[in-house]
Point group: C2
Chain length 200, copies 2
């Protein structure tokens, strides 16, 4: 295996160890020392991959974002009917599996952490608002949404609904299981969907 691949693979393993530490102890436990221990590396070996804690945290956070993006691309590749595609893309942003639950828990930890540190960690600039805005505009352009909708306000409403559901599903997973989340996001899409689609 070429050295570069090895290097990236090891960085990813360290990022995953970082997530486990955050899930277990919160951000206040995510010290370089604890992460090195979790990853089974010496402090010196870890510093070979990430020279500062900030660099490591940014990498670990970007990995959460990239994984969500990859899942959304896989939904797009399934070439579902438009409403089903929209629903499935949005469900990828919610904690419905053990993997996505851990990801989102880590993400909210980063959001809370970034409020009180002036570090280079900007979890809020996650591109999600832009992505949802583009989705709403392109569904409308294709004729799927009801006439007279204020598109930017709808994007804001959908974005808040998704992050609110993500937070509540983390905190009350029994009430907000995958079936329930799918119903609620489905109801929401129904409420903005053109009842007689102009194209399908």
């Amino acid at each position: 295996m070429p050295k570069l691949v090895d290097h990236e693979k090891r960085k990813k393993q360290i990022a995953e160890a970082t997530w486990r530490v955050i899930l277990d102890r919160g951000m206040e436990g995510a010290t370089v020392r604890n992460i090195a221990k979790e990853a089974g590396l010496s402090l010196g070996a870890l510093r070979h991959y990430f020279s500062t804690q900030e660099e490591l945290l940014i990498y670990a956070m970007d990995l959460v974002k990239n994984q969500a993006e990859q899942r959304i691309y896989r939904v797009i590749d399934r070439k579902l009917p438009p409403k089903e595609m929209a629903l499935n893309m949005l469900l990828e942003l919610l904690p419905t599996t053990e993997e996505t639950r851990a990801e989102m828990e880590v993400w909210f930890s980063f959001v809370a952490y970034a409020r009180h540190k002036r570090a280079g960690v900007h979890p809020y600039e996650d591109g999600l608002f832009d992505g949802i805005t583009r989705m709403v505009h392109s569904l409308n352009k294709a004729g799927y949404l009801r006439d007279g909708i204020d598109l930017d306000a709808e994007a804001e409403r959908l974005y808040a609904l998704i992050d609110g559901l993500a937070l509540h599903a983390l905190l009350a997973p029994d009430r907000l299981n995958q079936t329930r989340l799918s119903e609620i996001v489905g109801n929401h899409l129904d409420s903005i969907w053109q009842e007689t689609p102009q194209k399908d």
Copy 2:
């Protein structure tokens, strides 16, 4: 001033000092030592009012909740028309003023904190979901909501919308100012409201 009032007043001052410490340094800075310093008290004097850090944090958190409840009761007392009353009650749950912004920042800090501590701090049991569910059911009973709405799913959707907007307004206050928040929550109420009210 009777001694009991004095005691409660001092506890409230300490709780407010706790908020200021949380806003400034995050939950990890909210040690009894830092809070005593912020409140201008010795550690011993602080322990006279709160014997443990947990007791103090629970009190400070309940104060956030009580203040929001008081604001909502004041909205109810204004005897507004139903849709306006609903809108104004919901806006009291969003960070639209310096005071409510600080409250909600403290609240989200508690939520993040409680995820990783097994302490007796349960910010999620805030009664908000129950309150919103009751509101949706009573609006429906009075004939204000559209026919055929799944009331519990609507309550879940509205609750997620409100907490999502609260989080986004904390993180992007310029985009989500009071006017914009009011528009978005207003649009949402319009979308579930009976267009020709049966009673008014």
